[in-house]
Symmetry: C2
Subunit: 300 residues, 2 copies
């Protein structure tokens, strides 16, 4: 058994120990719903509606519920006067759900109880230990979120890709000394970033884009990685390296035996990451005015 395996096992054991102890002690937080006398399912639904009202369809996918079951839960909340269900004006098949004033009060009550429980748990700790616990949980939260985010292939002109690229462009515009003008490259080059010639990948968490990147053909069996971006709040959790590895795999699957990319010197973290990932510097291979560093890596 290799060192890497034993290391993984040791960390998995820590994770399991944490899970066991934590759910036993803090898992009661979920039962805080029960303090309201409302069944767990109904309370979860009420909470979700309050957090983000919308169509029953969206609720169904967010909570992973059967449509018949959701319908019944909604009717129950409706009969208690907590939610209002009305047909969608645009599409008469859909229903829109929102809280009534009474429902908002019940929601506030849930929030308050949940906060009380959290404060009760922290109560016995000193301020310094609370800060340590919060820091540890924030770190764990970031890493777990990064580890569980899924990289989905999407059309480069579809909504998730547009949102991610917009964030990418906005960041470059802010960080580059002279700003950044993407020109019309977005829609004009879209066909090169979609099958069969290329691909575009977006990672979303709770509906918001947190990372993206694409591969387009360069000719001569080469691929080029474009528009790679990771949400600032998600950096330092390995999402960038993971995305890069993923895109290399995509490029390989497209039949390329080498992948290239360019970047600007302002993006120091990116340059460091490419070097860590085994990229070697090559000469300029395009006319991109923003590009200052050029990298290439052979695909196994």
């Amino acid at each position: 058994m290799s060192d890497a395996t034993t290391e993984l096992d040791a960390h998995a054991a820590v994770l399991r120990r944490f899970n066991r102890g934590y759910t036993q002690r803090v898992g009661a937080l979920d039962d805080s719903f029960l303090g309201t006398g409302m069944p767990l399912g109904a309370a979860r639904l009420l909470f979700e509606i309050g957090a983000e009202p919308g169509t029953t369809r969206a609720l169904r996918s967010r909570l992973g519920l059967d449509s018949g079951y959701l319908s019944r839960l909604l009717r129950r909340l409706e009969s208690q006067g907590l939610v209002a269900v009305v047909p969608d004006t645009a599409d008469g098949r859909l229903r829109r759900v929102d809280l009534t004033p009474a429902g908002r009060r019940a929601w506030d009550d849930l929030e308050r109880r949940s906060g009380d429980r959290a404060r009760d748990l922290l109560g016995p700790l000193t301020a310094r230990q609370r800060a340590r616990l919060a820091a540890a949980l924030a770190e764990a939260d970031l890493l777990v979120r990064a580890a569980t985010v899924t990289l989905e292939p999407v059309d480069p002109l579809a909504a998730p890709a547009r949102a991610a690229v917009a964030a990418y462009v906005a960041e470059l515009d802010e960080r580059f000394p002279g700003g950044f003008d993407p020109g019309d490259s977005g829609s004009a080059d879209a066909h090169r970033l979609r099958p069969p010639s290329g691909a575009f990948v977006v990672a979303t968490s709770d509906g918001a884009p947190v990372a993206c990147g694409g591969v387009q053909p360069l000719g001569d069996g080469r691929g080029e990685i474009k528009r790679m971006w990771v949400h600032p709040a998600w950096r330092g959790a390995g999402l960038g390296s993971r995305l890069l590895r993923h895109l290399e795999g995509v490029s390989r699957d497209l039949g390329h035996d080498e992948v290239r990319l360019d970047t600007n010197g302002t993006l120091v973290e990116a340059v460091a990451m490419y070097e860590r990932a085994g990229y070697r510097r090559v000469g300029r291979y395009n006319e991109n005015p923003y590009a200052e560093h050029f990298f290439a890596k052979r695909l196994a």
Copy 2:
């Protein structure tokens, strides 16, 4: 609203954010039981039996189950050939439960699945990030355990107190250059450490003692804190300060207006903690040959 309150609220918010994200992503770990086709309750029971076989009574208290319900679950596992239930030889009312070879295989299967899940979660992370996550979870685990441990008053000669004091004595014996001999003080002084003259407190976690301490009367409205000890693995989580504060409260409730204690210079963490907690140094007030530092604190 004071700074202390906003600080607490901020940390509570981190805790809640973690809970929400974590249970959503990793909470599925509990459902790993479901991967076996066994209902959650039965799987939990099987797991507990495998972890520590014993009487149904012990299982009932560990899992918090109704006796009728437990009986039914056991019969179910029995009919599947996974557990064996036999009357206790000493007390014919009790039943002893253990796994059959088939049950042990099912238990190993649960373990394997749980480990696989944990490894799958860690898989996308690099070794460095896995180490960071494991460190963060271990820190959070320690602090949460310390925050949720309860301090129970017990008789100084009862089993939990004996176990804790034995650990305390063993540690002093190891750390003191010339070893430590408690003499007969244990049973002879016991009456001073129990109501109405004094008290003894033990903190246990999963059945094992993790901290202890007692208060005995010194006369003249003074109390003395004795045999204060925190399990080495639990240090650095504020359990010591919490226990100390708790014992001060116990002393106050016993009618004391000052509390004293002695300690050995080898125990540097303890000395530092007493000073942090507002104790002032006083002259020798007893003949304890192991005591080098003497402290006192007025109780509000």
